[in-house]
Structures are given as structure tokens and as C-alpha cells.
């Protein structure tokens, strides 16, 4: 049995930490319009995933709960897109006056862009074949990248010209 050879304890990390943090903490705060409260869990997850990739490479949630696994990346993308649509002031990320004033947003976007690219590469290499085999769309982060830019062949590819959102969003569904 495949699961017998997997490190089962990292399932708990995905199911008990990552998903609740994004879907409950961040999303509920976004829906309440509490941008800074939503930013905290999003940044906490970002700080964690920048240092670790075992949460993605050493788990089997995609086998036991593929929809939940794929939805996690969609939700995380929506959370970040909604956050980035807010002003620096609303998010509380204004940089102090001085030599480097006003660069937090661009630096944060650069970090997100690099992480998104690396994560989508892992998703492509490790998970695409499974999701295609079971006839489901492949999971992707879509914070800054456009649909179709990471090799997926889902219905998203039919709308490659869709502009990334830049305006404040309506509340997301939990």
C-alpha cells in the first residue's frame, strides 16, 4: 500500500496547520474586511513555506483528498490577490521615510513571485500526472502568474488573456 511508505505525520501539518490557517484565519478576516488581520496568517504561511518545502513534497493529502489539496492553492492565491489589491495603508505596510521608502510592496511581490514559480514547478513535476490521471484540473498557485503559464491544460487555459485583479475584491466565500 502506497501510504505505508509515506511520512504520515506531515499530513497533519497540511491538514491541521496550513489549510485551517489559510481557509479559516485569512479568509474569514478578508471577508470581514479586516485586512491587517488577514495579512498576519498570509505572511506567517509565507515565512514558513519560504524555508521549508517538505509540507508539499512529503505529504500524501493529494491522494486522500485531491479536491482539498487543489483548493488550498486556489484559496491561498485568492487570499494573496485580495490582500495585494488593498492599499499599503490598509495593510499597514508603508515603509518609513528615507532612502528605501515605499518599496515593501514591490519586495513582497518579488518574494511571492519567486515562491509561486518554485511551487508551481514542484506541482508540475510531482502532482500533474496524478491529477490528470484522475481527470481533475492540476493544482496551481495563481497569485501573480497567469493561467496557462505553468503547463496546465485545464479550462483555465481558455482564458489566458484574463487580467490579474487590481481592484478591491468582494468578500470571498468560505
Amino acid at each position: 500500500m502506497l501510504t505505508a511508505f509515506a511520512p504520515p505525520h506531515l499530513q497533519e501539518l497540511f491538514l491541521d496547520h496550513l489549510i485551517p490557517t489559510v481557509q479559516q484565519l485569512a479568509l474569514s478576516a478578508l471577508n470581514a474586511g479586516e485586512w491587517r488581520k488577514a495579512l498576519a496568517p498570509a505572511l506567517g504561511v509565507l515565512q514558513f513555506v519560504l524555508l521549508e518545502d517538505c509540507w508539499l513534497t512529503d505529504q500524501l493529502v493529494h491522494l486522500s483528498q485531491p479536491v482539498l489539496f487543489r483548493t488550498f492553492f486556489c484559496t491561498l492565491s485568492e487570499v494573496w490577490k485580495a490582500l495585494l489589491a488593498q492599499s499599503d495603508e490598509d495593510l499597514g505596510i508603508e515603509e518609513p521615510d528615507g532612502l528605501f521608502a515605499g518599496t515593501y510592496r514591490s519586495r513582497l511581490i518579488a518574494v511571492l513571485e519567486e515562491w509561486e514559480e518554485e511551487t508551481n514547478l514542484i506541482l508540475t513535476q510531482r502532482f500533474d500526472s496524478f491529477f490528470r490521471r484522475i481527470g481533475q484540473d492540476v493544482p496551481r498557485l495563481r497569485i501573480l502568474s497567469l493561467p496557462g503559464s505553468s503547463g496546465e491544460s485545464s479550462s483555465e487555459d481558455e482564458a489566458p488573456d484574463k487580467e490579474p485583479e487590481t481592484q478591491p475584491r468582494t468578500p470571498l466565500k468560505t
Binding site: P7, H9, L39, P41, L43, L46, L50, E95, R107
Partner: protein, 106 residues
């Protein structure tokens, strides 16, 4: 000539503390500070600002973000410990290949 990495990091830590105190905010780091060359024309504070990916946040926001990230790192450590422990137990319980008959496996 560059300062030692340890010295540079100490200076950077001091500069970051000063910056945080001045702004009344907490710095959330996304990369480790780089060593600061002694010949740098920048102040230690400006060097810290320029050479780390960070965000200065309201204390409550930074504290919550750090708590979440720390909890996840701890969960990884615990998972790895559990896995190591179970692997060791399995090795104790399973006879090594050297003790098995090469023909029948008993």
C-alpha cells in the same frame, strides 16, 4: 576589508532593533541578513534595510505571523522526530537482512 559574518550580523541585529524601536513596529524577516562590508558607505540600518527581505509591521500583526510560522516549523520538527522514532522502532522489530535465510527468507 569585510567584517566577519558574526560581527556584521551583530551590527545588523542592533540596527534592526533600533529601527523597530524608532518606528514602533516589528520587523518580519523573509531572508537572513547578509554580512555587511566594513567599507560600506551605508549605515548599518540602511544596509539592513537594503539587504534583507523584510516588512515592518504593526506589532500585533508581526507577532501573529511569527506565531503561525513558528507553530508550523514546530509541527515539522515533531513530525520528523515521530518519523525517526518509528523508523528506529521498526528497525529494532525487523530482523536485519543478514539474519534471514537467502533461500526462504525465514
Amino acid at each position: 576589508m569585510a567584517a566577519s559574518l558574526e560581527e556584521a550580523n551583530e551590527r545588523l541585529a542592533g540596527a534592526m532593533d533600533a529601527l523597530q524601536r524608532r518606528e514602533g513596529k516589528t520587523m518580519l524577516l523573509f531572508s537572513e541578513p547578509a554580512a555587511m562590508p566594513a567599507s560600506s558607505a551605508l549605515s548599518a540600518a540602511d544596509w539592513a534595510l537594503m539587504n534583507t527581505t523584510h516588512v515592518l509591521l504593526d506589532n500585533a500583526v508581526a507577532k501573529e505571523a511569527s506565531r503561525i510560522a513558528d507553530a508550523m516549523h514546530l509541527a515539522v520538527e515533531e513530525a520528523q522526530e515521530k518519523q525517526k522514532h518509528e523508523t528506529e522502532l521498526a528497525n529494532v522489530r525487523t530482523p536485519s537482512a543478514a539474519t534471514l535465510c537467502v533461500r526462504c527468507g525465514v
